[in-house]
């Protein structure tokens, strides 16, 4: 009886993994078959007032690069406001921001003491939201480098009143640095050029990624701003927005450069935070999503799969262990078939959140011919992500069981090495 139950569980996990394989196939095919990218209209003259929020905690290595880029934006300066939130920095971040504020009238600085600040990005953004006044609020992380015309492209979709938020594309600036940055760059290609793009094209749920994007102020204020309890405040806000009946638009040609993590340790900390926060969001919104009457069936399915995406590596691990146990217990039949399905699903999922063919096609669409050779390396990040997600899940469960305070925000340190890739 116990063995039968275990076999049924194994078959169910195999079906779950197959659903993700099918999802990725659909996204890849959708991205590939809609080669004609929607280009922003350069003659479109919708220019509302805009606030750019830049949360910064000890970012002296990268903040000048972003502020220089922001002051060079071709958006009318009388409609632009830049708010730097110095979130209790102990380095020169505050001084750098003050220097820019003194030189450019539309740059403001919100200084928070280490006691007041350092409560995570969501808290800093809420402080920035209070200090800003633009009709639309955009966020850029301090390690980003936006091109001149990005605001025009990001503002354009807001002419539709149903659009509550927009998301631009993230591209890695320091890609040639080492193997970690190259792999992150490929993950970004799969995640944005195929995954987000396909969701936009198929009318599903493009996700707000926390940076290179913006909100309609009215909507953001009505929703109560960013949730400071969540580690993935961007995903949480995405779902709150959809549950209120608003849509998010992904703009593929609004491309912005980021400085990717450069070490496996930093990769672990960043992905751990994403995994933990995403699972927190899943626990909170899975039920509400399925019951919602403001979402179409296809949006519910996509939302469900999106919320559960960080559980996939854990389910793969569980399937492996279960298969191994049943194999040694000399059970044949169902196990053999499921084992084969899991084998394929595992490989389809290599790269965890974007499988090999999704990343490969993304690189092809971006005309990145040499990047394909690194795709088999995703095997190692796949195994690494299994450990990351399992640890995040275990910690989240312990937090829930013992009602402990949530895990603290682990800030990614930026070296500023990306500066060498910018030609002034």
């Amino acid at each position: 009886m116990v063995f039968l139950a275990l076999q049924i569980i194994l078959v169910l996990t195999a079906c779950f993994l197959l659903a993700y394989t099918a999802r990725h196939c659909v996204f890849t095919v959708a991205a590939l078959y809609s080669l004609k990218k929607r280009k922003s209209n350069p003659t479109f003259s919708y220019q509302p007032t805009v606030s750019i929020l830049i949360p910064a905690l000890n970012e002296e290595n990268v903040l000048p690069r972003l502020l220089h880029a922001v002051t060079r934006l071709d958006y009318p300066k009388d409609k632009l406001e830049v708010v730097v939130i110095d979130d209790g920095s102990t380095d020169g971040t505050g001084t750098i921001a003050d220097e820019f504020a003194a030189e450019y009238g539309y740059v403001k600085v919100v200084h928070r003491s280490p006691r007041e600040g350092r409560k995570g990005k969501a808290s800093a953004l809420n402080a920035g939201l209070k200090a800003s006044s633009g009709e639309f609020v955009f966020c850029f992380d301090a390690d980003y480098y936006p091109p001149k015309d990005i605001l025009h492209k990001l503002v354009e979709p807001f002419s539709n009143p149903r659009i509550g938020a927009v998301q631009g594309r993230v591209t890695v600036l320091n890609e040639p640095k080492n193997l970690v940055t190259r792999i992150v760059a490929l993950e970004r290609i799969g995640g944005y050029r195929v995954d987000q793009y396909a969701r936009e094209k198929l009318g599903l749920i493009p996700q707000f990624g926390g940076t290179v994007g913006g909100f309609r102020r009215k909507v953001l204020e009505a929703l109560g701003g960013w949730d400071e309890e969540m580690l993935a405040e961007d995903t949480e806000l995405t779902f709150r927005l959809y549950l209120e009946g608003y849509k998010i638009r992904y703009v593929d040609d609004a491309e912005c450069y980021e400085e990717a993590v450069e070490t496996w340790g930093a990769y672990w900390r960043q992905r751990y935070r994403w995994a933990y926060g995403h699972m927190q969001t899943a626990f909170r919104y899975l039920g509400k999503l399925l019951k919602s009457d403001k979402l179409a069936a296809k949006e519910k399915v996509d939302g469900f799969l999106l919320l559960c995406v960080y559980f996939v590596p854990i389910i793969v691990l569980a399937s492996w262990l279960l298969s191994g146990f049943l194999y040694f217990s000399s059970f044949e039949g169902v196990v053999g078939v499921s084992f084969a399905i899991i084998a394929i699903s595992v490989y389809s999922a290599v790269g965890n959140f974007a499988p090999f063919f999704e990343v490969g096609i993304g690189a092809y669409l971006d005309k990145r011919t040499r990047a394909y050779w690194l795709v088999p390396m995703f095997l190692f990040t796949f195994l690494y992500n299994i450990l990351i997600c399992t640890k995040a899940f275990a910690d989240l469960l312990l937090t829930k069981i013992f009602r402990k305070r949530r895990v603290n925000w682990a800030k990614t340190t930026h070296s500023g090495n990306g500066n060498s890739y910018i030609q002034n």
Binding site: A343, Y347, G360, Y372, W373, P376
Partner: protein, 143 residues
């Protein structure tokens, strides 16, 4: 005469555009070829293991729907598809022989390793063949 010229121009225009849009005729041809191959495999199922068959279905499915619509010669795509199928069978044959021999030598430990590593190792060829094929086709486009 005018009619021929118009048709010719239209054809050339479409041909030029094909470089920028998915190549549906190639994809349909690919689907037909892959279906034929899979039909052959399924009819000879007594000689092919179920897990190998499943891998072949997935490989052909991914290959046809992701690589046939992109730019490149049809003959090259077909050659790469057939090559992929050969590599798949070759890999599985070598892998099974390897496993049998190792299982004879070190029973318990190898079984444990086999159970853990099987899902990754037995499908390793799919990723490699797919990436090499994409590279070959994209290289052709560059040239």
């Amino acid at each position: 005469m005018l009619c021929y010229r118009t048709v010719g121009e239209e054809f050339m225009k479409r041909f030029a555009e094909r470089g920028r849009t998915p190549n549906y005729p190639h994809m349909f041809f690919g689907v037909f070829t892959a279906s034929f191959l899979l039909y052959v495999y399924f009819t000879s199922f007594r000689f092919v293991e179920l897990s190998v068959l499943a891998q072949m279905v997935v490989f052909n499915f991914i290959f046809v729907f992701t690589l046939f619509p992109i730019q490149g010669r049809l003959t090259r795509k077909l050659c790469l598809l057939l090559l992929g199928n050969f590599v798949g069978f070759g890999w599985n044959f070598v892998f099974s022989v390897f496993c049998q021999n190792f299982a004879l030598c070190s029973d318990m430990w190898f079984k444990a390793f086999y159970v853990i590593a099987y899902p990754l190792l037995n499908s390793l060829w799919i990723v490699s063949v797919w990436c090499v094929s994409l590279s070959a086709l994209a290289g052709w486009r560059k040239a």
